[in-house]
């Protein structure tokens, strides 16, 4: 196995995530897309970590940090989405246009 | 130099002159709201003390010496080469005196201001401090700081206490000036860092920068950046559009200061910085500037002729008169430059007086339309006399001051730019046309509008305002030597520097102007 496969997988996942952020209208779906991007990051980190044979396992540890922080991020994000939903009965990003973009 | 004089030289007189009005501004702001009657006396007192200090400066100024006097220098920030460096030569001395002289008059002419009086007088005093700072600063960054800071009080003076379209006029004034000065800031920084390449450390010090060889291309760019800024302020022909609006909308005192002093800052900057720092570019760009100056002279005069609003007429006459100043400067002859400087002072006095007079009649009738007047000489003989006197001075009738300046400018430019001089002399004729025609329509003949019949003639305060200006107009017209003696060495220094750094030769009477070409012939 070469590292290229992982690189490509990561890049694909990341692009998918970016695409999702740009086109999905539901805030929860956007949140999911961001999680995809973070998954791509984790794949890259772990793949390079093992490829480089890093004795400190920097890549693996970093991936763990990313997972932890991502969990916190989702917690906050969902809370905000719920808040929005309560106030407007919708979580559609397109309708967030009280202020012009 | 004897000991007392040297002690006097060590006294930081220039800092004091700059700080006095600023202190006055703070004092005015600190006055309690209910003691409104104290505002004018305090402001006036501080500006008169400033005038006194300026007179002391004049008395102890050594005539016939080139270079800067009363220099003060404190290193401010070594790594940037910034120092608090002040000094005056003959040119800046006259400008300082003009400023200090006009401000008390402008303050006294502001009694019609009734709203936010403290703010108004404080703004005027801060404005005076800024302008004085511009004229004495010898460090480019300090110069720029004063230059830019002075915009803020002027903006408020036009914008709060001005006429109908004050907000528009204030914004236009501010943005035009700021555009120029921003480019100048870029130029100043580039200049300082270019100097840094040669000296091993950057410097903003004007005197040190004189010793830096910039190279031709850099001189052109920097000349452009500086000239644009100064040209907007002067204003040189296509950059003048802010001026009529600002002049017309400003309150009387604001117009007096704007015309009397602020415009001079641009011309002063051209002389002080463009001519000395970028001599090669100056010599090469003389035709361009001279053309613009002549266009300004004629255009200003023609547009002034057709104005229906007397204040606008005076405003456009400024464009024309300042054209003479620019022509004199870029004639690059001793006579032309001296004439330019003297003309700056003259224009400050006569146009200042004209705006005062316009303000006085406006306070009575609340109209500036020439058509609303007519035959005023019968009800207001004193006013008519003063108007005629100042108009004649502005036209350049001997033996009034305008004659000296315009004559020297035309003489000087005839030496180096004969064609332009001839064209410019048309401006003198046109000046007579628009001012005397305006006089005729407003003052002679029978009274045409009934409302004018009961107008009161000038009161004591108004006479007191005009008297010093009239006296100075006469004095400078009959006996300009004291002023010329002080300007001459400074002018000569500038021309010497141009001759030294370029192959330009200052033409003089009796010597062929185009010597270099003559030598080049086989």
């Amino acid at each position: 196995m070469t590292v290229n496969q992982f690189l490509i997988l990561g890049a694909l996942l990341f692009s998918l995530g970016v695409y999702g952020v740009l086109v999905r209208r539901n805030a929860v779906a956007v949140l999911l897309s961001i999680e995809l991007m973070l998954a791509a990051v984790n794949i890259n980190l772990v793949a390079f970590g093992s490829l480089l044979g890093d004795t400190l396992h920097t890549g693996h540890i970093f991936a763990l940090f990313v997972i932890t922080v991502a969990a916190a991020e989702v917690g906050i994000g969902l809370a905000i989405v719920i808040l929005i939903f309560r106030n407007r009965s919708s979580a559609n990003v397109d309708e967030l246009d009280l202020m012009k973009w | 130099m004897d000991a007392p004089l040297r002690a006097a030289m060590d006294f930081p007189i220039l800092s004091v002159i700059v700080l006095l009005p600023a202190v006055g501004g703070l004092m005015v702001l600190a006055l309690p709201r209910r003691r409104g009657e104290l505002v004018l006396p305090v402001a006036l007192a501080l500006s008169l003390i400033t005038l006194g200090a300026a007179c002391w400066l004049l008395a102890s100024f050594e005539t016939g010496v080139a270079g800067f006097q009363f220099e003060e220098q404190v290193i401010w920030y070594e790594p940037w080469g910034v120092s608090y460096h002040l000094g005056v030569d003959g040119i800046s001395l006259l400008m300082v005196l003009l400023t200090a002289f006009l401000f008390p008059i402008a303050l006294l002419a502001s009694t019609s201001i009734t709203t936010r009086v403290r703010g108004y007088f404080a703004s005027m005093l801060f404005l005076e401090a800024g302008i004085l700072g511009v004229f004495v600063a010898l460090d480019l960054l300090v110069f720029f700081a004063f230059w830019e800071v002075m915009l803020v009080p002027m903006y408020f003076i036009i914008g709060i206490w001005g006429g109908e379209r004050r907000i528009y006029a204030a914004l236009k004034f501010f943005l035009f000036t700021a555009l120029g000065s921003a480019l100048m800031l870029a130029g100043i920084l580039a200049l300082a860092l270019t100097a840094g390449d040669q000296l091993g450390r950057p410097t903003f010090d004007f005197v040190e920068l004189l010793g830096v060889d910039l190279g031709r291309a850099a001189q052109f760019w920097l000349f452009g950046a500086f000239a644009l800024s100064f040209g907007i302020k002067v204003p040189v022909f296509p950059l003048h559009t802010w001026l009529p609006d600002a002049h017309v909308e400003a309150p009387t005192a604001g117009s007096v200061i704007l015309a009397g002093v602020l415009l001079k800052m641009g011309a002063y900057g051209l002389i002080r910085f463009n001519l000395t720092l970028f001599p090669e570019a100056t010599v090469d760009l003389v035709p361009l500037l001279a053309v613009l100056a002549v266009i300004g002279i004629i255009y200003g005069a023609v547009v002034a002729t057709v104005q229906k609003d007397i204040k606008r007429l005076v405003a456009y006459s400024s464009v024309s008169h300042l054209g003479f100043v620019v022509l004199g400067i870029f004639a690059l002859t001793s006579q032309g430059l001296q004439g330019g400087v003297i003309q700056m002072v003259n224009h400050g006095l006569t146009t200042g007086a004209l705006f005062l007079l316009v303000g006085m009649i406006y306070e009575r009738r609340h109209t500036r339309q020439i058509a609303d007047y007519g035959g005023l000489a019968t009800v207001m003989p004193l006013f008519a006399g003063a108007f005629l006197f100042v108009s004649l001075a502005s036209i350049g009738l001997p033996p009034l001051n305008g004659f000296v300046g315009e004559f020297l400018v035309l003489l000087g430019s005839y030496l180096s730019l004969p064609g332009y001089a001839v064209a410019a002399s048309l401006g003198v004729v046109l000046a007579a046309v628009y001012l005397l025609w305006a006089y005729q329509r407003m003052f002679t003949g029978p009274i045409t509008v009934e409302a004018n019949r009961g107008l009161a003639d000038l009161g004591f305060r108004e006479v007191a305002l005009l008297a010093p200006i009239v006296a100075l107009v006469l004095f400078l017209g009959i006996f300009p030597k004291p002023a010329l003696d002080r300007v001459e060495p400074a002018v000569q220094g500038i021309l010497d520097r141009i001759e030294m750094t370029t192959d330009y030769q200052v033409p003089q009477f009796g010597i062929e102007a185009d010597l270099p070409e003559a030598e080049a012939r086989p």
């Binding site: 961001i34 920097t58 202020m99 | 920030y77 907000i167």
Partner: protein, 488 residues
């Protein structure tokens, strides 16, 4: 590196975290009055500031180092960031005090979030490893997302919060991907020391230069989002406008300080060896920011939105200093510190004028403020003139500093663009001044109740005005000091 020093290296963060825990515990246990919050928060921030000051005295210049296996750097840069961020958080709390006190028991959470954000911001500046930088970034950002929507019943604030969150999380992911690629290229996430990124890049042979460049670009994009540099600024106007008035000042000031601290360390110290790659990109970002920020600010009718676009332009000015690389870091700090104070002051006035819970602050609210509240108007005028770069204010000194740095680095074109933008910028700063002094309120316009200013806000304005004037008239001492605030 002895043991006590190891803990002292993160002492500011520990102090802040302790204050947060204490605050929340005291709150649920004793349900004290609001002044008790102030005591705890003040003690935490004072401790953080004092510890940063100690770090500054002991560790600026030569005597610097990294701790915890190269995770945390203690140097003049980190210490200065602490000296800036913690007092700024204190001022931000004072400015928002009325808002916090009006939130009932949730006020303690508000204060805790501000403290956490401050700790995260300092961690971003002190991080010597991308892992730490990421954690600091997230602690900081997550706190701000919540703060932006703190008045949860207001729809504007929700919207601001969600937009900030979505775009912020997106930017974090982009940043992380960049980190992963840099890790792939260099084999390390640590900045300094043997085998660190700086060490690797200083070497002659670079494997996978393409991956490194891609990573570098993504890093830059991610951080440009955080500092709202154009074209990654789209969140800033909405968030600044929607967030509660009392919060916006701290949000704007802290986001700039933290983001630029991280950016400056990553670019100048870590990637210093690859300066040729990133300097042109930074120059383009800077030019785009000043132009876009200025042009869009001109057409705004809401003061908070206008200040948001102006902050985009200011991000550009600060980036201008960074094209000079390490030589521009001191100038960047000067601009950043003075701007942070100005923007905090300006938003404090906005909160007083339009209400500290309200999001919007239309220009109509400002009409005739010069008569209604002369001191507020005067303070705002000073802040606006400083942001516009009028001499004798700190804004002018800052502009000269960053322009000088950029010209020195050979980027005259960038300075000319910035200078022209400065002039255009005068236009919208003057619009606000015109509204305050020259315009009178429209007939029948419904103005908010006469501006109420708490003592905290008054103090903030006094400090901001004093700092703006003092550092405008005599910037040299501060500039001199900031020359020591370099990253390792």
């Amino acid at each position: 590196m002895n043991g006590s020093l190891t803990f002292l290296s993160v002492a500011p963060e520990i102090a802040l975290a302790a204050a947060v825990v204490l605050l929340l515990l005291v709150e649920v246990t004793f349900k004290p009055r609001a002044w008790a919050w102030a005591v705890v928060a003040g003690a935490g921030l004072a401790a953080g500031t004092a510890l940063s000051a100690w770090q500054w005295v002991a560790h600026r210049g030569a005597d610097t180092g990294t701790f915890w296996n190269g995770m945390i750097a203690v140097d003049g840069f980190a210490a200065l960031a602490g000296l800036l961020v913690f007092p700024l958080a204190g001022l931000g709390l004072m400015s928002a005090w009325r808002l916090a006190a009006s939130q009932g028991r949730r006020g303690a959470e508000f204060i805790a979030l501000v403290l956490l954000a401050a700790a995260g911001a300092h961690l971003m500046a002190a991080a010597a490893d991308f892992i730490m930088l990421f954690i600091g970034l997230e602690v900081f950002s997550l706190s701000l997302y919540v703060l932006a929507g703190f008045t949860r019943e207001r729809v504007d604030a929700d919207e601001a919060s969600l937009k900030y969150f979505l775009l912020g999380a997106f930017a974090s992911a982009v940043f992380l991907y960049g980190v992963a690629l840099v890790f792939a290229a260099t084999g390390s996430t640590t900045f300094y020391g043997d085998g660190g990124i700086a060490d690797y890049l200083a070497g002659t042979v670079i494997f996978r230069p393409g991956v490194l460049l891609a990573g570098l670009a993504l890093l830059l994009v991610g951080l440009a989002f955080k500092v709202s540099a154009a074209p990654f600024h789209v969140w800033a106007p909405d968030v600044y406008q929607g967030a509660p008035g009392g919060v916006t000042g701290f949000l704007a000031a802290a986001a700039k300080v933290a983001g630029f601290a991280a950016l400056a360390r990553v670019l100048t110290a870590v990637l210093g060896a690859r300066a040729d790659d990133w300097v042109p990109a930074v120059a383009v970002l800077a030019a785009a920011s000043v132009v876009v920020g200025t042009l869009l600010a001109i057409v705004q009718d809401d003061v908070k939105r206008l200040l948001a676009y102006s902050s985009v332009a200011h991000a550009g000015f600060i980036l201008t200093a960074l094209v000079a690389g390490r030589g521009g870091v001191g100038d960047m700090w000067f601009y950043l510190a003075t701007y942070a104070v100005q923007v905090l002051g300006a938003f404090t006035v906005a909160a007083a004028v339009s209400g500290d819970r309200a999001g919007r602050s239309p220009l109509a609210h400002w009409a005739g403020l010069g008569r209604r509240a002369p001191w507020l108007a005067a303070a705002m005028t000073l802040m606006l003139l400083a942001m516009a770069g009028i001499p004798l204010t700190a804004g002018f000194a800052g502009k000269v500093a960053v322009f000088r740095a950029a010209i020195d680095a050979g980027y005259l074109w960038l300075v000319i663009v910035a200078v022209l933008a400065t002039v255009a910028g005068l236009f919208f700063y003057l619009r606000v001044i015109v509204a305050m002094y020259l315009a009178s309120p429209e007939e029948g316009a419904s103005l908010p109740a006469s501006p109420a200013v708490g003592w905290g806000a008054r103090f903030v304005l006094a400090v901001a005005a004093a700092a703006t004037l003092v550092f405008g008239i005599a910037p040299w001492p501060l500039l001199e000091v900031l020359r020591d605030a370099l990253p390792l």
